[in-house]
Symmetry: C2
Subunit: 345 residues, 2 copies
């Protein structure tokens, strides 16, 4: 490919980790953040790939994330494990709590991990996939920034609140979904704005609460939840469970605290893990074999499972390497060499 | 009102309970089923009100529900409480497990109630509302009958799988939603068929997987999930968590077992309860007061909370009584007098 470079997953991981270490991020945190970012790029999920590096550096430059925070595990011995991220990134906090969460879910049947006070770039699939690889089903929820109007409303109140779920599959990639509870991601509207193209109907309302296809009006107005009042209700549930219930920020407070939505939001996160073997034990059935009866028949009617494209892309990246453009390679070079000074306002 | 009769909530409850007792249902079960049905009618939720009596009697007449099953509580001491409904209705099984679920959630932070082998008419709001009145947040999920094609597919595979959530509100009705993960309820398509009117676009596909507005073609084809691939993913999650994970039927197996979708489905159910006070404790914040910061501002922008209409209807019913038509009163008389013999094929 002209203008493209192939880089192995491992090499890209090394480079991204180095960028964060050079920017002053504690080694374990740099590694956890880099692992998630490279996994996104590897899976051709560009919106959560190396594109995210700049956002992470900007929040470092603004002094709104703690580069040397060491996540603190609090285990009361109940079914809820807590990790204080201490104003650091969410990824190392999840890594800190993951094993304790899995152990507790196996002991108790289900367990929850509460992450407090973290900076989040909402790649929740990475966490639920990790738990699925440990044989656990899980839900992962967090608020974000208040950019979305509730159904029937016209002003931003809810976040784009991601909702992720993972389910283990024997001998196969897990069943994983991870999506925003808004119709579209904010970044998609931004791309339309830059391209000067209208957004589809149903994505947003303007400042007066009227439907709009103008990306500028949408960004100044409010985005809309997916699935009408049902998606709006789910988004509200996420505010309550992953914000209010934890005593952490909801999306409106995150927006106020960060003084606008240009940087990564700061808030908490909730992960609930279930041990299928424990839940099914009295039935005498194998829950994962039961799950396969459903998941293996989607293809026969032309339907796709949520992460099929991601897993295909992953295989391709692992076999052939990841293709990056000249501009992307240049940016990696610049970030690694210049650190936060490479950020252009 | 001409042709209408006003009946108090208590009087209607007594009548519905008597119908089930006369039909041979064990007293405690008759009471639990009647309580849920009357609550639906009281809240002007006609689709889950006295309309459901006939369906319950039909499943009794077909010998597909056990009228005298005594739900059995199994408490392993872990965070999962189980109740074997023994082929009886779901409502008494929930009543049997409710207190243990609430206690365990308060002890552990969160807990789950598994209901096994029950006949369900999917009024999940009743359960999450009861838990909210005990100060707990909760999720309630169950499969149903395989009438819904996954997004991108064309054949029935998923159920209309209801999804309910409850959150306690100090001094107010709880925040409650309960909806099918299909675009529309199957009953709504049936009403269009009877009226000879087309269904809206996006509700269903025909037997060839083509979009249709013909209710007959829709009933022979497949319904569609709400919210496109996102709703489809959530519906799949419900099959896995509330079917496969429990070792209980998923929606396709329920349809096979019952030999068609005319009777109430038989399967399991999953309720997850969270104690907000326990989750928020280390934050020093009051989780319910935090929740109010979100829930009290919907109205200012013209948005409604999911159950507002229900709670208004409830107040009206409690003050003025419930208005039933002549036909509805006649049917209650007939069901009470004749029992299962009142069923006309």
């Amino acid at each position: 490919m002209t203008g493209h470079h192939l880089i192995t997953v491992e090499a890209l991981f090394g480079r991204v980790r180095a960028i964060f270490e050079n920017a002053g991020v504690r080694a374990e945190s740099a590694e956890a953040v880099a692992r998630t970012i490279v996994a996104g790029e590897r899976d051709h999920c560009k919106s959560h790939g190396i594109y995210r590096i700049e956002g992470c550096l900007r929040v470092l430059a603004a002094g709104k994330v703690s580069p040397d925070a060491v996540p603190q595990l609090h285990d009361s011995g109940k079914a809820v494990i807590e990790v204080d991220a201490g104003g650091g990134f969410a990824n190392p906090a999840f890594e800190t709590g993951k094993a304790a969460l899995a152990d507790r879910a196996r002991q108790s049947g289900l367990a929850a991990l509460v992450i407090r006070d973290c900076l989040h770039f909402s790649a929740l699939w990475h966490d639920v996939e990790a738990l699925a690889e440990m044989g656990l089903a899980s839900l992962s929820l967090c608020p974000s920034y208040a950019f979305v109007a509730p159904a029937g409303g016209k002003e931003p109140l809810l976040g784009t609140n991601p909702f992720a779920f993972g389910w283990p599959r024997p001998g196969d990639h897990p069943y994983v979904f991870d999506f925003a509870t808004s119709v579209a991601a904010r970044g998609e509207i931004e791309l339309h704005r830059r391209a000067g193209t209208p957004i589809p109907e149903g994505w947003a309302v303007d400042e007066d609460g009227e439907p709009t296809t103008d990306p500028n009006a949408a960004l100044n107005g409010a985005m809309l939840p997916f699935g009408g009042h049902k998606g709006s209700a789910i988004s509200t549930m996420i505010e309550l469970l992953a914000g209010a219930m934890l005593g952490e920020f909801m999306s409106r407070e995150a927006l106020d605290f960060m003084g606008g939505g240009n940087l990564l939001p700061r808030h908490g996160a909730l992960i609930v893990a279930f041990d299928p073997q424990s839940f099914a034990a009295r039935s005498g059935r194998d829950p994962l074999a039961e799950g396969e009866k459903l998941l293996t028949v989607f293809g026969a009617q032309g339907a796709r499972l949520p992460s099929e494209r991601r897993f295909k892309a992953r295989q391709q990246s692992q076999t052939n390497g990841i293709a990056l453009t000249d501009a992307e390679m240049d940016q990696l070079d610049r970030f690694e060499r210049e650190g936060l000074a490479a950020l252009i306002d």
